[in-house]
């Protein structure tokens, strides 16, 4: 019986060992992913980005309530639980963002009149939370074997007052930033699936952040591929 498989990657470290050279501050934190760690959900994953950690569980395709069923595709539901307190309006808003992103990639038409539920639990928040939730949700959907047309990943950029871009910001960097932009990109053509932003920025800065996020997403997708290869090659 295969136990939880761990995969670690230090992507684009401060020393700049792997991959293409990037500008100062344009590096992603250390990430790690563990799959199949929970026994009840059909798929589960824990994604760590630096100190931010999110645990995701996927149930599905499963029975759906008649009031919620859609005749020709699966009903996707996302539940996001914060670390402390009860879920509020901000969580509802994030659930809607994650749900719509998953709906764009999951092939719901293959499982009509069923429900696929993604449950996300925030374990620790040290910046870039929404991006970490998206990554955990994607890994959990893959672990559950839900058919998807592409993988997706979340990348956060922070723009500080003099226009410098920082990818994968920490809580301190997010607070001091002028604008924080979170994007979800798909793996096939690096198209923009979801975007949510905070703060003021110009059109040119948006394009710059989008380009940087697309470059960073390559690393995330490579990490997904490596961690899955490692998992399936051992068993």
């Amino acid at each position: 019986m295969e136990g939880p498989m761990r995969a670690d990657a230090k992507v684009c470290s401060e020393g700049g060992t792997e991959s293409s050279p990037r500008g100062p501050g344009c590096s992603l934190r250390h990430f790690a992913c563990e799959q199949n760690l929970l026994s009840r959900p059909d798929g589960s994953a824990s994604f760590l980005q630096g100190d931010t950690s999110v645990l995701a569980g996927v149930y599905g395709p499963a029975e759906v309530k008649v009031s919620k069923e859609i005749f020709n595709k699966a009903t996707l539901e996302v539940i996001l639980r914060p670390k402390i307190g009860l879920p509020g309006v901000a969580e509802k808003s994030r659930e809607r963002l994650i749900r719509n992103t998953c709906e764009a990639v999951v092939l719901g038409a293959l499982h009509p009149r069923t429900s696929i539920t993604v449950v996300l639990q925030v374990v620790s928040d040290a910046g870039s939370l929404l991006a970490c939730c998206l990554n955990a949700a994607c890994m959990a959907l893959v672990d559950a074997g839900v058919p998807m047309r592409a993988l997706f990943c979340g990348v956060t950029c922070a723009l500080d007052s003099d226009g410098t871009l920082v990818l994968d910001p920490t809580v301190k960097q997010e607070k001091e930033a002028r604008a924080v932009l979170t994007f979800a990109l798909d793996s096939v053509e690096r198209k923009l699936l979801m975007s949510t932003t905070k703060g003021l920025y110009s059109d040119a800065e948006l394009q710059q952040c989008l380009a940087a996020a697309q470059a960073a997403s390559q690393h995330v997708f490579r990490f997904y591929r490596e961690s899955l290869q490692r998992r399936y090659s051992k068993s």
Binding site: S93, N100, T101, L192, M194, G199, L200, Y201
Partner: protein, 276 residues
Amino acid sequence: MAAGFKTVEPMEYYRRFLKENCRPDGRELGEFRTTTVNIGSISTADGSALVKLGNTTVVCGVKAEFAAPPSDAPDKGYVVPNVDLPPLCSSRFRSGPPGEEAQVASQFIADVIENSQIIQKEDLCISSGKLAWVLYCDLICLDYDGNILDACTFALLAALKNVQLPEVTINEDTALAEVNLKKKSYLSIRTHPVATSFAVFDDTLLIVDPTGEEEHLATGTLTIVMDEEGRLCCLHKPGGSGLTGAKLQDCMSRAVTRHKEVKKLMDEVINSMKPK
């Protein structure tokens, strides 16, 4: 005949129109519905506005009350928005606690207020650490026919421009606030954020200002909030089909044009109200 086809194959029906670069209601792909705005119609509110975007109707009322400023920011007031989608506006909403759509819209409006700095919260402070204004902005949808976010943002902006706050002085002897209702002043609005919403069809086509039916058939939506200097306050794309950078650029240019249209309309209305 056409009505039957529309019921059975709504997507195909729509595609026939999109091929000719127009929509069932006769609009072009980049055209907005007729926008009308009415300011100051609610006398019991400190500021109000009614916005109609085609059939979509949203009314915004702003009430100002006193409150103690937050302990971590003693020189700031509060702006509290709330979007209500009652069962009156559409058959898909039931009575009871706010549904997901209303919560998402409320969060969106709160983000727009926060990001665009439409009002400096310091302007709302009367006495640092003791008394500040709190503006409760209630947005109620009276008729839901798509594009609720654009209508809400416009209604909020118009209502805030209409708000008049009375002068408040703190009496040193009694330490009580004295309100002078005869002397009122308008709020200082720093920026004018305007929202432009798009719907994505078949992963490729972008149409502006979707109606209720179009939103239902769309594979994705995108809302851009821009201020008068071309800075973006919010790029809200809640999932849906992917977009390339080039398509985003087209949307930006449309948003800039829309901002000019809305600003012109608002200035007309404000000016028509001035000589009282």
